[in-house]
């Protein structure tokens, strides 16, 4: 199994990622996304955003995988998120990883905003199509931490 810490691949292009994956010759992957926020050190909205973004990122990976397992860390700890996937399609894997890296780590906020828009559309579509979310455990914690609006 090949472990990929997403934050260590921010300098890679999509083709660079593909090249890297091809050289590794693996089909089982552990994908790690580091956790930046924990409650109550960070405000609720940060916790909500982080869980939603990871839920979306892992859902994208689940969609291209034949096997998908995932870890739902406590919102009170800074223990990393991870999922374990199997895929033999390295082209699709590189494309998906690059999408996630761009959305989460590229300094230009345009990429982050686009990633968030796509995330909202993705979850909206699941809801409208009455489909089960593969990362519901993360999504639900994100929802629980959305602050109640001030009245």
């Amino acid at each position: 199994m090949l472990t990929i810490k997403i934050s260590e691949f921010t300098e890679y292009t999509e083709s660079g990622l593909k090249e890297y994956l091809d050289i590794q010759n693996e089909t089982d992957f552990k994908i790690i996304i580091r956790k930046e926020c924990n409650f109550p050190e960070y405000p609720k909205i940060n916790i909500a955003n982080e869980y939603h973004l990871v839920a979306y990122s892992f859902s994208l990976l689940a969609d291209i995988s034949t096997v998908f397992s995932y870890f739902i860390p406590s919102p009170y700890l800074k223990k990393a998120f991870f999922c374990i996937i199997s895929t033999s399609n390295m082209g699709l894997m590189a494309e998906t990883l690059f999408t996630i890296i761009k959305g989460l780590y590229f300094p230009d906020p345009v990429f982050f905003e686009l990633f968030k828009d796509n995330m909202n559309q993705y979850f909206e579509k699941l809801k409208n199509d009455n489909k089960y979310c593969r990362t519901a455990g993360l999504l639900e914690i994100g929802n629980a931490f959305i602050p109640e609006p001030d009245l």
Partner: protein, 163 residues
Amino acid sequence: MTTINLKDLWDTEKNEIYQILLNANDVEFNIITECYRSEKDKGTSDWSFFVGLEYYDTLYIGHELFSIAETFAVYIPDTNMLESIRFEITIRDMVLFTEYLYYLLKGNSLDKINHPEKQTDFLILKQQFHDDILNNKAVTYNSFTAVHGILNLYNEWCDKSSL
């Protein structure tokens, strides 16, 4: 982090469980639940049956552990894998932890002869929990939220099984 495999403790008495926890001298525990499926069930209807039963039981175990834990995390393996759901919890009160583990172990075991009363309570409370889930409108981080990943898979399983 100390690993506790529930499958290894079904017949363990309460004082022994307490001793195991004390000897661990730890506050972080990795609780491995039982995977009811086995290799021989692959491709049979038993596989699907055991998957559903496992989600049903594990949901309740997770809910109970959440209620006593300082922190609570879940690992959910792919349904097609022969791997158990596991919970990572932080807990400092070993007396309380012993009580809960003993309750969960006796309740979920088939030891009806030695502990019929424990299992009856367990089954009633487990059913109560599942009834509560149906009516839950959680907006705060609670046990329903914490075990939602398993609940989601259980609901999906029920849909597929037309339950």
